[in-house]
């Protein structure tokens, strides 16, 4: 066993008194990842394993008349074929139906790429050939691909049992508008009457994909004893277990899910698509089955973030006081109902204190793949609308855009737009951090434009479990149920090190499968370091009590005479030398056996997150191409447990947000075919497209977490959409209200301006 000195505390928390929190040890999984040794689901090969291939609909909306699998079943290497008829009947409506019918279509297909059948064969080639031999007869139905058409009175209706919720009286005719949400306070008309300036604009954003590098993949082995093993990439293997059980009607306890390393999720791997299909193929074939989605299938059949239309009207007095805001939001839901508009309504004016507001949102289904979460779902589009209008108000009033936002900034105790009061939040601190930054204080280079914007996301808690075992040599193993997407393992190790007083390098963090660690919710909502970290801390505190008890036994004294100080049990009266963890674990058999502790909790008190960002851009007036010259983001992390991974999350969110702002969009033909299901035609930013994203970690500790943690994984993606649009407006004088800010669109706007 060797120990190392703690590295210099290079986080922003250098004077906090922590030894490990705020330091930057190398992540435990880092070497395997850079060396190509990390094991992803697609890497797994089992004896006798078959390869699955899924047949997908070429039509956006059609009734399935028949599926003839006979030719496929007779083809070489084919061991099993399944269709929707092999799956249990879904309930008539609700979340379970949506999940079950997303995994495989039943009576209707609802988007191009919708799964309709699957084949398992000895090789991928044989499986693909057999899939192509499956004959599906469709009755084509009219389809709708955008919000306006889907909301039209004469729109083809996707679900004949969908009646708009939130409308009185309750509609008697079905429609594609799943739900209406309203938040209101005060009197908006009074607010507009009090305003010296009123700006009203309509905005649109396009559906985008999370763009994770690793396609969905799984290997499923269903044994003759009824037990099922699933190896897969996901943001939550307990969710994979329960969702698979739901789709198949199987006993959850008979399913074991082993998490593989994950090559990105960003919300897109919070649900399942292929595991139940592979499970049924495996059951039929009596062999393990692997399914790996192609990139094309990932785009066509897995969750985009929704497109939106938002009408925004804001009034302000000449001193910069925003008197009211009125918003109308409609969000694409994809083929099944979601809550995108509701979330958008909750977020749309969260960065402002308003006495008068009226926010109305509509969730709209259409013939596109069903939405799945993407970092701070719905908030980016909402921020695009609000922050663009606020920027315009600041320009017209001649106010600094940050001063205007500071003037209207909510603080603890102010009401949120959706009702409850704000807890401790760091929006003001983030605004001040950007205002005082080198970037904002630097003169804007000639020919460039500068934009700023804010963003909000809730963050959540949910259930987490952790087990901390001390090994016989004094090292520790921390087992949690949270898949590590952004460096959470090393953060767990740091928090355990801080609690136990143990060198972080002597702690091995592990992501346990569904049978070795307690139930843990999905890694989503920026919750892992917050909630699972709380479980780790609680387990460590239990362990410290046990360690003190062992020392008391050793010293034959009362446990009250023992304190835990700097990683050792200390005898209060001073009659014995301190006992380190290693000393106690070495003699553990004599004092009661091995030491370990488990904690499971439903984490409370998630701290809301805010981010403020500034960008400098240049715009090529001949091509419309935008170059991001400089970009700085400030974000309230609460406390940065591992600053490098906080910065990584901030930078990743910004990069994805810039992609959403500048280039990314789903492009459908009129017949419902997705035209750009690949990274050649779906343009995400690459390293050469972006400058180094400068980061300012703001730390306004969350009082509900033992180390003050807020989630950091999501809010960074919220401000880039308006930040870029505001910077382009500054550079060109063109206020562009439709995304993406692609070169053709920007050129068109510049040309129209003359």
């Amino acid at each position: 066993m060797s120990t190392t000195e703690a590295p210099p505390n290079t986080g922003t928390n250098g004077n906090s008194g922590y030894r490990w929190v705020g330091t930057r040890p190398v992540r435990h999984d880092g070497l395997d990842k850079v060396a190509g040794k990390a094991r992803y689901a697609a890497d797994l090969v089992l004896p006798g394993m078959l390869h699955g291939h899924i047949v997908r609909s070429p039509h956006p909306h059609a009734r399935i008349i028949s599926i003839d699998t006979s030719a496929a079943e007779a083809m070489p290497g084919v061991r099993a074929v399944v269709t929707g008829a092999d799956f249990r009947e879904p309930p008539p409506k609700g979340a379970d139906r949506n999940l079950m019918c997303t995994v495989i279509a039943r009576d209707k297909v609802l988007y191009t790429g919708h799964a309709v059948a699957a084949v398992a064969a000895s090789t991928r080639r044989e499986a693909k050939a057999a899939a192509e031999a499956i004959d599906v007869t469709y009755e084509l139905l009219p389809h709708v691909l955008n919000i306006a058409n889907a909301m039209a009175d004469d729109a083809p209706v996707l679900h004949d049992n969908m009646f708009t919720r939130g409308v009185e009286p309750r509609p008697t005719e079905p429609s594609n508008v799943a739900a209406r949400t309203v938040y209101e306070r005060g009197d908006v008309e009074q607010g507009f009457a009090e305003a010296d300036i009123v700006i009203e604009r309509e905005f649109s954003t396009q559906a985008v994909h999370q763009g994770y590098i690793e396609p969905h993949a799984c290997v499923v082995d269903c044994g003759q004893d009824g037990k099922t093993m699933i190896w897969c990439s996901s943001q939550g293997h307990f969710k994979v277990r329960s969702a698979t059980a739901t789709v198949l009607g199987w006993d959850t306890s008979q399913i074991k899910v082993i998490p593989a390393e994950i090559g990105g999720g960003f919300g897109g791997k919070t649900t399942i698509y292929i595991e139940p299909v592979a499970a049924l193929l495996s059951t039929k074939a009596g062999r393990p089955v692997k399914i790996v989605m192609s990139r094309e299938d990932v785009f066509r059949a897995t969750g985009p973030a929704p497109g939106s239309i938002i009408k925004m009207k804001v009034g302000a007095r000449s001193d910069g006081t925003i008197t009211t805001a009125k918003a109308w939001l409609a969000y694409e839901n994809g083929a099944f109902q979601g809550i995108a508009a509701m979330l958008g309504c909750m977020c749309v004016v969260s960065s402002y204190t308003l006495d008068h507001l009226y926010v109305e949102g509509f969730d709209v289904v259409m013939n596109r793949p069903v939405n799945v979460a993407y970092r701070a779902p719905s908030a980016p589009a909402a921020a695009f609308a609000t922050e663009s209008v606020v920027d315009e108000i600041a320009r017209q009033l001649g106010m600094d855009p940050i001063d205007l936002r500071l003037h209207n900034c909510p603080s603890q105790g102010d009401p949120t737009p959706y009702g409850p009061k704000w807890p401790v939040i760091g929006l003001r601190d983030c605004l001040e951090a950007i205002r005082d930054s080198d970037h904002y204080q630097s003169a804007l280079p000639s020919g460039q434009g500068r934009g700023v914007a804010t963003g909000f996301w809730f963050n959540i808690g949910e259930a987490s479990s952790a087990t901390v075992n001390l090994n016989e040599n004094g090292t520790a193993t921390v087992i949690t149920g949270s898949p590590d997407i952004g460096g959470s393992r090393v953060s767990m190790a740091i928090m355990a090190a801080e609690e136990l007083g143990l060198d972080v390098h002597l702690i091995q963090p592990v992501v346990g499968d569904t049978e070795v660690v307690g139930f843990t919710d999905v890694t989503e909502g920026s919750r892992a370091t917050f909630a699972t970290g709380m479980a780790v801390v609680e387990a460590c505190r239990d362990l410290k009590r046990q360690l003190c008890g062992r020392a008391a036994k050793t010293w034959d004294c009362d446990i009250e005479q023992v304190d835990w100080v700097d990683g050792a049990a200390v005898h209060g009266p001073g009659e014995h030398d301190p006992l380190t963890i290693a000393a106690i674990t070495a003699g553990a058999k004599r004092t009661g056996g091995p030491l370990g502790a488990t904690a499971s909790l439903n984490a409370r008190g998630a701290g809301p997150a805010f981010s403020v960002q500034v960008a400098d851009v240049s715009v090529d007036n001949e091509t419309g191409c935008i170059s991001v010259e400089r970009y700085t983001t400030a974000q309230d992390a609460g406390t940065a447990i591992h600053p490098s991974y906080v910065e990584g999350q901030m930078q990743g969110g910004v990069a994805q947000g810039i992609g959403w702002a500048l280039n990314e969009e789903y492009i459908y033909t009129d017949d419902g075919t997705l035209e750009n299901p690949g990274f050649l035609d779906y343009r995400i930013p690459v390293a050469s497209d972006l400058p180094m994203i400068e980061t300012i970690i703001v730390e306004v500790p969350n009082p509900s977490h033992p180390y003050g943690v807020r989630g950091v994984g999501e809010v960074g993606i919220v401000p880039p959409l308006p930040t870029m649009a505001n910077a382009v407006a500054d550079a060109t004088g063109c206020r562009i209200t439709d995304l993406p800010l692609s070169p053709p669109r920007v050129l068109r706007e510049i040309s129209a301006q003359g």
């Binding site: 009185e168 970092r375 779902p377 999905v522 998630a606």
Partner: protein, 82 residues
């Protein structure tokens, strides 16, 4: 007494923006609300408003949460994220 605030949609079932109710837990509160506003519970179920915010803190599984004389409660839908 705890004060319950109703959203715009919920007000259609309560007719008021807020109400003070004597309740020691969220479970007791929901029972009291259901007795007073018979159609509210079905609305909460339909809209999945099964969470609450107590004094600003969002709590997804709240039935056993204790309320105080000064608690401010909002009935909301559980949130997720990416």
């Amino acid at each position: 007494m705890a004060v319950i605030h109703f959203s715009t949609d919920q007000r259609k079932h309560t007719g008021v923006t807020h109400i003070a109710i004597e309740a020691a837990t969220v479970r007791a509160l929901v029972r009291a609300l259901t007795q007073r506003y018979p159609t509210l519970n079905a609305h909460l179920v339909e809209t999945s408003a099964t969470a609450v915010a107590i004094d600003g803190e969002l709590i997804p599984d709240p039935m056993l949460e204790e309320l105080t004389e000064t608690s401010e409660v909002h009935l909301v839908r559980p949130l997720a994220g990416g």
